[in-house]
């Protein structure tokens, strides 16, 4: 469905590489507002310094760093294993994908193999993480729109079931610390797999219900369609990844491009948007949940027996050969990468995180200029960030 506003805004974006210059109307002064760091819509501690002409945004400057915890430097001072629990705290909504990306980087560095069963467990946990992340991020987005509670509550009811599975397997609901270099820490029992199958069987009904609740809601469509347009050229140039990039119509999914782990064995599709707006980002997440359910069904059917840990793998005191490695995965928010340089010691010489949230946030100003201040909250919510990962 196209709206007149969309066509108008698209035509403004001819010179896509430069943010559109929005001139004040001239009658009166600009009002500068600091939105945040304690604004409830900022998902944590994030500040947007906006200059307003009436209700229109003329300038927007993101300010972050309030949650900086020195993650990268700490990791250079402790062993490879010691950083694993800290990665849980980057994007605390999806700890298991963070674990996975870091384990992948260290495995590339040391050249370790991962047993088949562990790969399957990683896929199952990664896709469960994606579902709960997308469900809660949609819930938060709708809550910021003013629907306080109901969609978020439905999303969290489902997330609760997935977190219960995480707790039963890894011992913690959010700080899982589950994956290890060369496999996974503990094996899943048959009872756990059965419980997972039960949850996965119930998921399509939840997505249907969620879609029924939101998809055709007129208020939601009026608020989101044609708002926060991100043209594909700009998205690619800015390095935006994940559902945001796919909502801009660029077919780029690291699960397909890189097929890390065993993703080439699964049959799934990559949904793409063609309006590049907030509504597309919301719908892409909805569709990705359905694709994740497909992957989960296949993985739970095919999961083989065997060990979950490479028997030769050492969990501590190993010294990778001098060199570098970059492990990247398709985290729910985009490309999550860990770049490691080893100098032959027990600690990494350099440890760098490529956080999807931070890099997706760099196009915030371009999306917000010229829109109303009330839409800034929506556009920001549709980026789907976690400040733990932005500031590290």
């Amino acid at each position: 469905m196209t709206t007149p506003g969309l066509a108008r805004r698209k035509s403004k974006l001819d010179d896509w590489n430069r943010p559109p210059v929005i001139l004040p109307s001239g009658d009166g002064e600009l009002l500068e507002v600091a939105m945040g760091p304690h604004h409830p819509s900022t998902h944590g501690v994030f500040r947007m310094d906006v200059a307003l002409d009436g209700e229109r945004v003329i300038r927007l400057k993101p300010v972050f760093g309030y949650l900086h915890r020195n993650h990268e430097k700490i990791a250079e001072g402790i062993s490879y294993l010691g950083s694993m629990p800290y990665t849980d705290r980057l994007d605390y909504i999806c700890p298991l994908t963070n674990n996975w990306a870091y384990a992948l980087a260290v495995e590339k560095l040391t050249g370790q193999e991962v047993p088949e069963r562990a790969e399957y467990l990683r896929v199952i946990l990664g896709e469960l993480t994606r579902i709960q992340n997308h469900a809660s991020s949609i819930g938060f987005l709708i809550q910021e729109m003013g629907a306080s509670g109901t969609p978020l509550m439905y999303a969290f009811r489902e997330r609760e079931k997935i977190l219960d599975l995480f707790e039963a397997l890894t011992g913690a609901r959010m700080m899982c610390n589950y994956m290890r270099f060369g496999g996974c820490r503990v094996d899943a029992t048959p009872a756990w797999l059965d419980a997972t199958r039960k949850v996965v069987v119930g998921l399509p009904a939840f997505v249907d219900e969620f879609e029924q609740l939101l998809r055709s809601n007129e208020i939601l469509m009026a608020r989101t369609q044609g708002v926060g347009i991100l043209p594909p050229q700009l998205a690619v140039n800015a390095g935006v990844t994940g559902p945001m990039l796919r909502a801009s119509g660029v077919n780029y999914d690291i699960r397909k491009v890189d097929s890390y782990g065993i993703y080439n064995r699964f049959n799934f599709r990559v949904p793409l948007g063609d309006h590049w707006d907030v509504y597309d980002r919301f719908m892409i997440r909805m569709l990705e949940m359905r694709e994740s359910i497909k992957i989960l069904e296949q993985a739970l059917k095919e999961i083989p027996g065997g060990p979950v840990m490479d028997p030769k793998a050492k969990i501590r005191g190993f010294r990778p050969k001098p060199g570098e490695a970059y492990g990247r995965i398709e985290a729910p928010k985009g490309e999550l990468g860990f770049y490691l340089i080893s100098d032959g010691g027990t600690n990494p010489y350099r440890y760098r995180v490529r956080p999807p949230s931070l890099i997706n946030l760099t196009v915030l100003e371009d999306m917000c200029l010229g829109s109303d201040i009330a839409d800034v909250v929506l556009i920001f919510g549709s980026v789907d960030i976690v400040l733990g990962e932005v500031d590290r």
């Binding site: 629990p85 609760e160 707790e167 039963a168 011992g171 610390n177 219900e209 501590r316």
Partner: protein, 208 residues
């Protein structure tokens, strides 16, 4: 029709509202602290030290090797090694921790100390109601406060405890066999030496 989508959404909400009276699945919360969910076996909160037998001080499995202290990511473990040694469960002379403190206000429950411990001495507890009014000493636990008997571990993590106990029993059998072999070897050596001595020993009055 304008408003159709909203009505469809409201029908979903109504379904959920009515469903919450009939379906237990739609009621996800419990009335804590009166009601509690069943304890989860894999749950982990803070570390504890395991001891064998009845005397906590004599039975502590920890030998103060300080691996956990080195590996602990937030460095919340403080160990002081003893000067003397005492026999461990296998009867071997080992150091023991003269001081073993864990600052649980710093601990992040990551379980790495448990994974790296070669002696099965440190395990994770499942008690989570640990609030205290004392900001300083109340959260710095010493080895007396951390010590728990092995039967407590068997109670909270039965599956893990089964594996650990089997492994320790196997170690015990092996070490007993080794000790017995060593004793036998010493006895045999002594006997051989005695025999050799009886052959080669100079007869009194012969030397010089």
């Amino acid at each position: 029709m304008l408003g159709e989508g909203i009505l469809k959404g409201l029908a979903e909400t109504a379904k959920n509202f009515a469903g919450s009276f009939f379906s237990a699945e739609r009621l996800t919360t419990v009335q804590y602290p009166e009601d509690r969910i069943a304890p989860i076996e894999a749950a982990r909160v803070f570390p504890i030290l395991i001891y064998d037998g009845l005397d906590w001080e004599a039975g502590l499995r920890c030998v103060a090797c300080q691996i956990c202290e080195k590996e602990c990511p937030p460095k919340c473990i403080f160990i002081e090694k003893s000067k003397d040694k005492k026999p461990d469960a296998l009867g071997k002379q080992q150091f023991y921790p003269a001081e073993f403190d864990i600052d649980i206000s710093v601990c992040m429950s990551c379980q790495i100390c448990v994974e790296v411990c070669p002696f099965e001495a440190i395990k994770m507890d499942t008690v989570y109601e640990l609030s205290t009014e004392d900001r300083f000493q109340g959260l710095l636990l010493d080895r007396r406060q951390l010590a728990r008997p092995n039967r407590y571990f068997q109670q909270i993590h039965p599956t893990d405890a089964g594996v650990v106990d089997a492994r320790l029993a196997a170690d015990k059998v092996k070490s007993d066999a080794k000790a017995k072999a060593a004793v036998d070897a010493t006895a045999a050596k002594a006997a051989a030496a005695a025999a050799l001595q009886s052959v080669t020993a100079p007869k009194p009055g012969e030397g010089n």
